[in-house]
Amino acid sequence: MSRVGSELRDELRALRSYFGHVICHLQKDLRLEWRSRESVVGMLFFALLVVIIFSLAFDPTAAVSRQIAGGILWVALLFASFTALNQSWTREQRNRVLEAHRMSPAPASALFLGKALANLLFVTLVELVLAPFFLIFYNLHALGQGWMLLAVLPLGTWALVCNGTFFAALSLRTRNRELMLPLILVPVSLPALLGMMSATTAILTGESDPALWVRLLVAYNIIFTLVCLLLFETVLSAE
């Protein structure tokens, strides 16, 4: 009984240390971002510009804008996050920090999870700032269940950020890195993109039930988060 108890205690200790590592990486990224503020500000302005350009391109009426706003929001966030994701890993390349990560005995997936959570916070921040602009420029109000947006936005953001962080690490040493990330990310995340855009449109227009898409997003997130966590070690030590 006591042997089982001590094994259990060891497991709990290992788990706590794993999450300790994740929190440590998260704090590092947040601190670096706070001091330079480069990626959040960059993302914000890029997304804003995309919103304005789409508004000029389509000049929608209130009814039409409800149909297209979901798609435009996620397109703007997708393009904005490309820049931020690449930058989040170049931060690790300065001063050979990535080599240090490889050599340390800390679990590599903790580095990935910390960084993905940090990117999630940054993109969520951009969304929170962007939302009022959306409401203003497109004269939006949700005809469906508006509160479901609070579920759809984090799920969609996590799908983008989780895969994005992974593929940004994958394309870290490829030639033409700026091209590789969108090229790999968009086909792989297409089901999630479809889910988030359809769910948002369904909520805004109230014409269909977003529940199917929310379930798809949840399933997608679970599957791909697991795959990313399992395969990150391979990518980090790919030499």
């Binding site: 590789m180 792989v188 990518v235």
Partner: protein, 245 residues
Amino acid sequence: MAKRSCIFGVAGMVWVVLTLTAIAYATRLALVVAPTEATMGNVQRIFYYHVPTSMLSLLFPYVNFMASLFYLYWRRRDPLRALTADAVAISAAEVTVVYSSICLLTGMLWGRAAWGIWWTWDARLTSMLLLWLLYVSYLMLRKLSSTGQTQTLAAVLSVFAAIDVPIVYMSIQWWRTQHPAPVFGGGADSGIDPSMMPAFVWNVVGWAMWGIFLLLYRYGLERRRQESEQASALRAIEGTLEIAQ
């Protein structure tokens, strides 16, 4: 250069001859012998190329997936065997891209001739386009990544792509049932007349044999490339070991 048993060469030639025979026979069946379709006329004959290549383009991605898994498994345990798996992986990916390109192009031509449109965002077309995009991105990663990492990164991407293919298919099915698009005649494999079956089956067989031939030929090329790379690396190392007298 390793000596290869000449049985492979002989078997290869036999396979090529059989493949060309099968394709010739299948072409004759498709273009001459099979009956003309009632509504579409002779345009329908492109079906004998379109459907077999589509079916095969769904098979080779999983060859790539299995090979990538073997690569990841053997990477640290038996590196030389892992290289073999990697050669199979890239060959399968290239054949996938070729077959899905043929599927998309023949589909577009057929669609234009039969229904007057080049493209529509229905479930199957969109899923096939995504499959094509995924494996093109695989090949681009192979081309652009730094040497030493290429094989591992490509294997990881292959795992993602293989997991994604069924999810893409399901999600696009749901998307299209939510927003119904024009449905095209229940699909090409519904209600095929029995007199057309021989032509269809022989085309599947012929193009499968061709696909296998391409895979094995490309595998052979890749293995030779890997071996010449290893040989030149070995020569470089041996060069540094020469002791000055």
